[in-house]
Symmetry: C2
Amino acid sequence: MTDHSTVSDIAPLASTLDALRAALGDDSVRTGDQIGDRAMTDWTRHDPTRPAALLLPRTTGEVARALAICHAARQPVVPQGGMTGLAGGAIARASDIALSLERLSGVEEIDTASATLTVRAGTTLQAAQEAAAEAGFELALDLGARGSCQIGGNLATNAGGNRVIQSGTARDQVLGLEVVLANGDVLTSLGKMVKNNTGYDLKHWFIGSEGTLGVITRAVLRLHPQRASRHTALVALDHYDTAVNLLRRLSTRFGNDIGAFEIMWPDFFDIGVKLTGTRSPFGQSHPLYALIEHASFDSTDDGERFSAVLTDALDAGAIRDAVIAQSVADVRGLWAIRECTAEFPVRLDAINFDVSLPIGEIGAFVDRCRAALDQRWPGNASYFFGHIGDSNLHVTVDGNSIRDVDHHAVYAFVYEMLGPLRGSVSAEHGIGLLKREFLPISRSPAELAAMAAIKHALDPHGILNPGKLF
Amino acid sequence: MTDHSTVSDIAPLASTLDALRAALGDDSVRTGDQIGDRAMTDWTRHDPTRPAALLLPRTTGEVARALAICHAARQPVVPQGGMTGLAGGAIARASDIALSLERLSGVEEIDTASATLTVRAGTTLQAAQEAAAEAGFELALDLGARGSCQIGGNLATNAGGNRVIQSGTARDQVLGLEVVLANGDVLTSLGKMVKNNTGYDLKHWFIGSEGTLGVITRAVLRLHPQRASRHTALVALDHYDTAVNLLRRLSTRFGNDIGAFEIMWPDFFDIGVKLTGTRSPFGQSHPLYALIEHASFDSTDDGERFSAVLTDALDAGAIRDAVIAQSVADVRGLWAIRECTAEFPVRLDAINFDVSLPIGEIGAFVDRCRAALDQRWPGNASYFFGHIGDSNLHVTVDGNSIRDVDHHAVYAFVYEMLGPLRGSVSAEHGIGLLKREFLPISRSPAELAAMAAIKHALDPHGILNPGKLF
């Protein structure tokens, strides 16, 4: 790769800022009090820090010029999107320059023949969703932070969210990508083709790399047809294995028309009912609950086929009970229980885990994890729920229930249990700053060495998001 | 990465073979006449060459030891699967050592809870498909070479095939991968998780890299539920744009229950009828034909909904005519026309193109390409068909119709037309040896430089499949 150096060696910050002002204009290079709180930390509120400067480029070319200058000056750069991350991946140190993509925003094109949307990195997910919907399509990516998070951050972290069981993660939505490398080279691979076997598929290197290999500036995303009818059910189950059987039964019958399959263990279900002031539709407690959505392309689908499968399962003793939402209010009531997690940051001292492991092993892991937590910290309050179809389990331990215990000890305790199962310490939130020390639980020395070799090849001076991931 | 060198510098072939025999056993290191014809070329029959040796390792550990020895000796290695490639990607030079994965075969596990299949690289696609079917699932990858091609080769080339519109390419089937790097390091990332954001997703670096970055030894593949009913139609259309409209109409109504959408231009349709000795179900010629499959998970689906959409389209003047297969014989008859391509190698002097470009631009490209061919080589016989839903167009020019023309001139002529459209010179077959010179049509200098940097990082001595891709 060519080196667009304009400064020959490690440069002092002042001269780097001068070069950046000359390249981007004074208005795009902020320092000191000109930098708002938003650039200082993410949704974890971890360690708010004012970076040495905040860059606000308006074009891919400006991003390229900024990185070329920082590369030559060996100046660390932290790419920032909507700052909704949950792993500290976009938090800059005081000596770093933050690079916000917020001005590089807007939907550039919707191609209805290709069913694609071309979008700039700083566009919020919600704006992209709305543009897709206006054109009669659906952008399959959706998550709670949709109003604030940005497409560039979604792709850099390979965001998961609400539709993974149906349409995959952020990665699966990408057909083309434009990325600026550490040295300022622009890789423009904005093809709309589903099939393209012309050498390495560069987009996959950068998706999920948490800003350590390049800065994503534009993307071509797949659009899906809109689903025309939705039906929601809450099912009571005996045991985790019967939940997996039900998932397979529904999947065999409806393929990826199953749009959600959320498993809640009783502690989680009960606190969900309590925190949201709703009530259980069942007259009694059950060992396990599944919130299931069936979403069909058929506008005349009245949910009969979906409820028939549940009725058959009930008759066969495969499930204990089921309620099917009959109104929008019913749907909201059922989802409110599952989405009580939105209250966790306020109501609990939440110690959160976002892990994944093989679907068949999640039930036993939950049992073992709960028993181990109870033995280690009697009286702890812990809540388990999972996007089971995605092999993803979320665990929240309430720090208020174990007041003298350092959070770090809880993290280490639970993550260590994953190792022998080849589980993942981060299903969807990424490693960032906060899970770095636990990465070796999920990755072998050979894998980590290969990652480091790739990092060095694409960012030889290590200026991109240093201290994250590695 | 550590260097498992056992030989300190560039070693003569004889000492490398001695080291390989000591590591793998005499039976696994073949030379001269012990090497069968199968190792000498692929399905293109291009330039048959006997490699310096053929290695037949039985385990991942043996692959690792073999590569460590070759890495230390700077000895080029060409990974070989079923040798069904169409780009010369597995053809060794006389000085190369071929490494066949054929003994590393067999399905290791089917996990019905996770819906995954763990398979060794040398397993034929058909054997993997059959194992999946026996367990009540479907492996979504399917292509004509299924009986010979191997999973390792399918993944190394990111094979496309018959189900891409429904379930994606080979890449989309992979959850976990085991790869041996050039230096013998083994990257074992055989997770069964759908979501796993713990650093770079290493599998994507190797899938589609055509054996230039590592040797794939095992994989965890997703399994899909089996579809319970299939309905096939042949539709006559006015114009390419009406074909795209019909695709969108069907997709909006049926999502990815549309399992095939194959567009045939009249020359292709006519030669298909002729070569297969079948007959057109229509009483007249039409400007365009679409072969469409609807495949549902609903075993009680009698095809009424599918035919109703076609009837509506007919009534609205959106299509000219349609026939729906009423029997297995009907289905075979319709597919026979499309699959006349199997006869091309025997009946034509086929100059084949496998290109992709945005779906909305394929129709105009075909018109322009045909006009340009007719102007340049009057009297040429050329045939166009495409997996339109995958943005993939196949063009075959019959060399017999332009006898004095060098094939290379035809390749250059058609590929050059793709450049301004940002089209791809290889939708599914890969670059290999045969399309190397045309790669810059589809990839920018910055992209090629980034690929070279990664190649150097993972294979610093350039021993893996040299001369391919780069």
